[in-house]
């Protein structure tokens, strides 16, 4: 069911527990640590730096945070070679040229001489500015800015980001300074492919996101997939839990358990049995070695029969 009023006034959580319940309203079940981290980030106006295994719900947390607080959600996906023009703003050169030619042509037709200074000023109008994620997050406040996989960007970009985040403002030479009415709540995620600078980390709250406990995982499955049976949810959660103990190359995260439960439900399963599990293992395990290892241990054993 979609929440009735999407244009609700921004919600200001008054405690970590309050934030947890707001998140739960938008179908995100956060544990105490994550809820506290989110609450502190809101209260102290500090960016939140999230790390954890792939698929534990770091990105989903930022989305849920935006939904729960009624803020605008902006995502900046980092990659190598990302630079200021792609993250901040860019001038729409094609339209600027078109504008230039149009004014020229109109003036020519009217037999006038265009005023050069005026013409140049008109080229740097806000309508020729393309807002990239950072500018968008500063302009549309309140906002939640997700800087995803910061470790993939170059370290020069990190230094640049630091400046934007600490000032919550951007200077555009031709236009002036854009200052956020309210600094965006920034969530940074990293997969630890390289060390992020201490200078950036020091300004953030740091949280390592763990896999959910068994009960929480069952609750997440039930919440996100309301059609599956309680039995199936707990079967999937316990099988996934055992898989995480198996020392796999890629232990399944919450995203995988949701995929798996969804696949099983699509096949009309009401509970998990060894045959079904073997047939749908591809939804959970993404390495041949992992699938072999799970098959070599008794699947019935995995289901905790």
């Amino acid at each position: 069911m979609i929440s009735a009023d999407t244009t609700a006034t921004p919600r200001r959580p008054t405690s970590a527990a309050d934030l947890a319940s707001a998140l739960s309203d938008v179908e995100y079940l956060a544990d105490d640590g994550l809820a506290t981290a989110g609450y502190l980030a809101l209260r102290l106006g500090r960016p939140l730096f999230l790390e954890g295994d792939a698929g534990v719900g770091k990105t989903a947390f930022a989305q849920a945070l935006a939904q729960a607080t009624g803020a605008h959600f902006v995502r900046l996906q980092c990659y190598e070679g990302l630079d200021a023009a792609q993250a901040l703003y860019d001038w729409d050169f094609t339209r600027q040229i078109l504008h230039l030619r149009t004014v020229e042509a109109a003036a020519h037709a009217a037999g006038e001489r265009p005023d050069a200074a005026k013409l140049e000023a008109s080229l740097y109008d806000r309508r020729f500015l393309i807002a990239r994620p950072l500018l968008e997050a500063l302009e549309n406040t309140p906002s939640v800015l997700l800087v995803d996989e910061i470790d993939r960007a170059d370290d020069e970009f990190e230094a640049f980001l630091l400046e934007v985040l600490s000032e919550a403002a951007i200077s555009i030479p031709e236009l002036g300074r854009v200052v956020a009415a309210e600094p965006p709540l920034t969530v940074l995620t990293s997969n630890r492919t390289r060390e992020v600078h201490d200078a950036l980390k020091r300004r953030c709250l740091y949280h390592w996101v763990e896999h959910p406990s068994f009960d929480r995982e069952v609750a997440i499955l039930r919440r996100r997939l309301p059609d599956i049976t309680e039995r199936l949810a707990s079967d999937v959660a316990s099988a996934i839990r055992r898989m995480r103990e198996l020392d796999l190359i890629k232990p399944p995260g919450v995203a995988e358990s949701l995929d798996w439960a969804n696949a099983l439900a699509t096949l009309g399963a009401r509970a998990l049995d060894p045959d079904l599990a073997a047939a749908t293992l591809g939804a959970v395990l993404k390495y041949r070695e992992d699938a072999e290892r799970v098959r070599s241990t008794d699947i019935a054993d995995l289901l905790g029969a």
Binding site: Y39, G81, Q96, H197
Partner: protein, 376 residues
């Protein structure tokens, strides 16, 4: 009045806790401590749980900090007399860089050759000769000289082309740059601006074996690691392997080699232990390598390849690593010795997956390694 007093008490307690944590090895800098106090204020620290999170979210900076934090928190905030916080923590002020310095086994230990033992250098040796001498059999003065020269090495990594573009004299046309030039001339056509893909050095990953059998070389390896980390702090990662994997990049960042090595010695729990290379390489792949640290990087493993476990398992892990890395270089100090052949289990098993197999027993061989890495 009483309220203010209580508040100061809480501040004192928290700052004291931060100090305990710092001596346990978590880098709780003063600004982090301030952040903790603010966080504690925002949460209204009334219970253990909020104090725990206020500290953990602000004082920790990486996953490795969390177990240390948990232990320090439990020790500091529990009144259990069995766990006094102080003695648990290793004394931080005593810097012992020489701990890394494996004392030469009296009377020629395992591996050292009697022939070489007789050539005792009494004075500072000629540098040229020193360059080719086995690091394991040097006198103290010679070792100091080699250390000094090791710190002058600057291992870089060969560049690769990135997706990032930079202005260039020739190459594909840069539309934005061209338009910018045109605008400067009120829209008149002008010379085309061009750009090309930029080159960037590859990431360098060092896996240094510090197990017992590598003891005579560990000091030199770590100094080499220090030189590499200092040269490109953001593009180099260093780990020690042995019975377990330890990341030492952070410790090696310090400018002074002796201080850095002292920090490393405090970080490594399995100093001069046994070798379980397969497990260590697997741990590296699971926690770092597959996520991207090893992808497209130049990976250098420094080890004698004496594997206690199953060589087949080591081969499997190394094969995996070779698939991820751009180039896999193995440095084996024994390779430089006359009569050595890589026949021992572990070394023979991994040989098919290596791109380069170099010696690492003397200063000259380290210089050769620098060459291999920067050409790779």
């Amino acid at each position: 009045m009483a309220g203010a007093g209580r508040e100061r008490d809480i501040t004192e307690i928290l700052v004291g806790f931060a100090r305990t944590l710092r001596s346990a090895g978590v880098d709780a800098t003063p600004d982090r401590v301030q952040a903790m106090l603010r966080a504690a204020g925002a949460l209204g620290v009334a219970d253990r749980e909020s104090a725990y999170w206020a500290g953990r979210l602000t004082l920790c900076g990486e996953p490795d900090d969390i177990p240390t934090y948990d232990a320090a928190f439990a020790a500091y905030f529990t009144d259990a007399p069995a766990l006094p916080p102080k003695p648990q923590i290793p004394a931080p002020t005593v810097r012992r860089p020489t701990i890394l310095f494996a004392p030469r086994p009296a009377g020629g230990g395992a591996g050292s050759d009697d022939r070489e033992e007789t050539t005792v250098a009494s004075m500072a040796s000629d540098t040229e000769v020193l360059r080719y001498r086995d690091i394991a059999v040097l006198s103290a003065a010679e070792r100091d000289e080699v250390r000094r020269m090791l710190s002058l090495l600057a291992p870089g990594a060969a560049p690769r082309r990135t997706r990032r573009l930079q202005p260039a004299a020739r190459g594909p046309v840069d539309p934005r740059g061209t338009v910018r030039r045109m605008l400067r001339q009120a829209g008149e056509p002008t010379r085309l601006a061009r750009r090309r893909r930029r080159a960037k050095p590859r990431r360098l990953v060092l896996l240094l074996d510090v197990s017992g059998s590598m003891a005579p070389y560990a000091d030199a390896l770590l100094r080499f690691g220090h030189a590499a980390v200092r040269r490109r702090p953001t593009l180099t990662e260093a780990f020690t392997v042995g019975t377990r994997l330890t990341r030492v990049t952070r410790a090696l960042r310090h400018r002074d080699p002796d201080v850095a090595l002292g920090a490393v010695s405090r970080t490594i729990p399995d100093w001069h232990g046994g070798t379980r290379l397969a497990d260590s390489v697997k741990a590296f792949l699971d926690r770092w390598g597959r996520r991207g640290t090893a992808r497209g990087a130049i990976v250098v493993i420094c080890s004698d390849g004496w594997e206690r476990g199953d060589p087949a398992e080591l081969a499997e892990q190394v094969a995996h690593l070779a698939r991820l890395a751009h180039r896999l270089v193995w440095v084996n100090p024994h390779r430089g010795k006359p009569g050595y052949a890589p026949l021992a289990g572990g070394m023979a098993a991994v040989l098919p997956y290596l791109d380069d197999f170099v010696a690492g027993h003397s200063l000259a061989s380290f210089e050769e390694l620098v060459g291999v890495v920067s050409r790779a």
